[in-house]
């Protein structure tokens, strides 16, 4: 085994310069406690711009909708509210998110309501004039009824489809069936005809503006096929006299968490060897991340996010748009452009890439037992505060020493397990041995980078009355950084109130 088996995080500006400012981050934790979430709102606007640059490269018009579910922050949504209103919007998946987006200044024409919807959510969306991304025929009926009953204006709707593999027309031609994981969301694509009839019947209440899909997969061929099917579905709408013009390709563009491909490859190989017993243990009590040893053969599949990804986010979108559609054989972007359709995308994780840190203070460092050399590092946070493991994301935190420089000490790299502040055996922040450049000391801070997508506070809770992380927004102030509470961030003023 190559020691240390680092999985160093991919870091870009401005996280790099923020992490270089150790006194600032320590002072934040001193003032606001551990755990602490730090957000860089500026970067989300840059990310949206990167997505839109891909649109422009392919001459496509349309909008990037931030999938709000990835992070509850106000600073992020407010920063997007201040971004290009034509190109940037917000995808809300609950009544609370819709209210939040409106309160952050996102106008309804820039809001798309997705996900499971109750009557209140549907009513408010319809009342303000947001676009409703309809999941099923039942939802359409429910919306139409609300519109009539409450004399609301006609609502722009998208129809979300699923199960493209079984739909007629997508196979037979080639004899290749691209299987898809089943999803609970969307209407099976082969029910399009009934759904369109329903849309026509409810023409007094809804206006069809586009069709949508969201596939939970990293596989480009599945998405290219769904996109092509959506273009064909739109043509079917046109032939019926409807005039929708957008294809919403959902989210799932991915993030690369680990910078170095070699580190990722060495670590995953070492995991297989550990599971087979031919290499040293790498995980708490031999946890295999879904892999198991059956008579000397590795079985199962690793439940790990592909942490090193050569293309993710906007690069992944570019690849998808460049991929030839399975039956029409033109690149997906060409297909959209030639058919005169707009592109909508709903990135969540990818849009908050490099937008945040989760900080935790080191409370205690000790050895596990007499004969084992393993170290336990107890942090001022629990597994709910930074749910990287929960999402299968394995990546090292960055050590921010309280004093001195990490490298000067002449100490050696060390593998440790990170445990949380709950009185539960299960409260491990990593089930994997994490390698750090030296043994942390009480008072040091560990920074988990790139946690703004789902990992930051998705599972945070008040169990055992442990504090839940506060969230601050940080902004560049010349060579230094300024900060304010997340709820106090407005993109038009500097922390402290002066107009920026």
């Amino acid at each position: 085994m190559r020691v240390p088996l680092y999985l160093q995080p991919r870091l870009e500006a401005p996280l790099t310069s923020l992490l270089a400012n150790r006194p600032f981050l320590h002072s934040l934790v001193d003032a606001l406690g551990s755990p602490l979430n730090v957000l860089v709102p500026e970067r989300i606007a840059e990310n949206a711009e990167r997505f839109l640059a891909v649109y422009r490269k392919h001459h496509l018009s349309g909008r990037v909708y931030f999938a709000h579910k990835a992070n509850r922050s106000s600073a992020l949504v407010r920063r997007l509210a201040a971004a290009d209103p034509v190109g940037v919007g917000v995808d809300v998946a609950s009544l609370g998110e819709l209210r939040h987006a409106l309160g952050c200044g996102v106008t309804p024409d820039r809001i798309m309501a997705t996900g499971p919807k109750d009557a209140e959510f549907l009513w408010l969306a319809a009342r303000v004039g947001a676009t409703v991304n309809l999941d099923s025929r039942g939802e359409l009926e429910q919306l139409a009824e609300l519109v009539r009953k409450h004399a609301l204006p006609r609502v722009d709707v998208l129809l979300r489809f699923a199960e493209f593999e079984s739909a007629a027309g997508s196979q037979g031609v080639s004899g290749v069936r691209v299987l898809s994981r089943r999803s609970r969301f969307g209407t099976p694509a082969d029910e399009v005809s009934e759904l369109l009839s329903a849309v026509e019947r409810h023409g007094d209440a809804v206006v069809l503006t586009g069709v949508a899909y969201h596939l939970d997969t990293t596989g480009l061929p599945e998405k290219a096929r769904a996109l092509e099917r959506c273009v064909m579905l739109l043509d079917e709408c046109r032939a019926r006299g409807l005039a929708p013009r957008a294809v919403d390709i959902g989210g799932g563009f991915g993030v690369g968490y680990v910078a170095d491909a070699d580190q990722w490859e060495h670590w995953t190989t070492a995991l297989s060897e550990a599971v087979l017993g031919t290499g040293p243990a790498l995980t708490w009590r031999g946890h295999g991340y879904g892999l198991r040893n059956e008579g000397g053969t590795v079985r199962g599949s690793a439940a790990l996010y592909p942490a090193h990804r050569p293309t993710a986010g906007p690069g992944y979108l570019d690849e998808l748009l460049s991929l030839p559609a399975p039956s029409l054989a033109r690149p997906s972007a060409t297909l959209l452009l030639e058919h005169l359709y707009d592109l909508y995308a709903e990135p969540g994780r990818a849009l908050v890439d490099q937008c945040g840190l989760s900080l935790a203070r080191v409370l205690d460092v000790r050895r596990t037992g007499h004969d084992s050399g393993d170290y336990l590092v107890r942090l001022g946070m629990n597994a709910g505060d930074v749910s990287l493991e929960e999402h299968g994301v394995v990546v090292d935190p960055v050590l921010l020493p309280r004093t001195g420089v990490a490298e000067e000490s002449g100490e050696d790299p060390v593998g440790v397990y990170l445990v949380g502040n709950l009185c539960l055996e299960a409260d491990l922040i990593t089930r994997r041995k994490v390698f750090l450049p030296r043994l942390p000391r009480t008072g040091d801070v560990l920074a988990f980078a790139n946690t703004a997508g789902y990992a930051m506070d998705f599972h945070a809770h008040h169990a055992q009355r442990q504090p839940v992380a506060r969230t601050v927004a940080v902004v560049r102030d010349g060579a230094s950084w300024g900060w304010c509470l997340d709820e106090d961030y407005w993109p038009i003023t500097r922390p402290g109130g002066a107009l920026s």
Partner: protein, 445 residues
Amino acid sequence: MRYDSITEAIGNTPLVRIDPAVHGLRHIDLYAKLEMLNPFGSVKDRPAWNMARPLLEGAAEQGDTVVELSSGNTAKALALLAGMHGLRFKSVTNRMRVPEIKELLLLLGAEIEELPGQSECLDPTDTDDPLTRFHQVLSEPGSTYLHTDQYFNPRNTDAHAAGTGPEIIKDLDGRAPDWFIACVGTAGSSTGVARVLREHDPETRVLGLVAHKSDFIPGIRTIDEVHQVGLFDPATYDTIESVTSDEAIDGMLTLIRRCGLLTGPTGGAAYHGAVRHLRPLDGELAEAAQRRTAVFIVCDRTESYLSYVRRRRPELLGRSRPKHSAAALTDAEIRAGATVIGIEDARRWIGDAEPRPLVVDLRGPHAYAALHIEGSVNIVDELFDELVRGGLPFSKAQPVLLACPVGEKSARYAAVLSRMGHPDVRSLAGGIVAWRDAGAPLVRE
């Protein structure tokens, strides 16, 4: 040679010596075992036939479907065998990354199912991966599948222990080679041959070659992936080394261009890995009076991998630059050479000019059918590109209006046609998108 069935032609493949002037080894004779000369084209003909043979008759009575997890060669052999016995064949795979092989399988009548990609929104407690589910379906009572199970079926290994291995010994006049080199996919060929060679001579060294971890060589696995193979036992190999796709293609080129062996990338990988491994050992043999021998396996043929080569080494398949290439024009040349016309002027021109300009829509036929300018003709850009390479596709007396989605491609072609001497070709500014946005009429058919 006269056979009653093509299956009788499986096996007894030649062992061909590689010219020392090519590999440069001075004390080692290097031989290629040409498995590509099996009737279905690969080393997989043997295990496919050996695994399927005892089951085919029963399966034919029940009307079963033969199914295998295969990226190519096993599927190819099984598809042909299934067809010969009136059975259907289905290949389930997540590795079908070479388009020619996919198309060949379709031609053979195979059904292909591609497994879904990994979940983007991972739930680590979900152990229900697609392969597990696939195996569940196969083992359900009353299932009508004949699963050959190449990664776990000992009859895969046995085919090579009974055929490939003994043939090598026979062709080396009753001796086992000092080194045996094979790429590892299912591990069937390397394990079966190694077993027989070692029984004959325990001193035989076995080198297993895998693909470099982040790389892809069709048909072989990476070091992590071999751990998922039931037939794989690390004790089979004295050494395991990895080869990159670049090295595999280098090896393939040497075998093709200098040895007349029309091998695929894994043959190239085996050759490259063999020479790389043997070169230092050859140096140590300076004093040895006796010559040594090494044998590597050439799994399959070149033809199915042209797109694999095109992606990685486009220059190997390069075309010379055509005389009139739209792609070669710079932006400045396009700006200088193309006459661009706005929507209103275009509408007037189409309406009033004598002779009426020919409107050419460069979009795909599906998009054209959905909506287009009335009276326009559809020549897809790819086709148009071919036409223009050959010369002017219109009479100089015929004015032409080119239209594409946003006016970019059409400007490029307008510049090319002008250079070729067409006096009146114009490009629609902003394309069909601008036409639509201006509220100009579009028709569908």
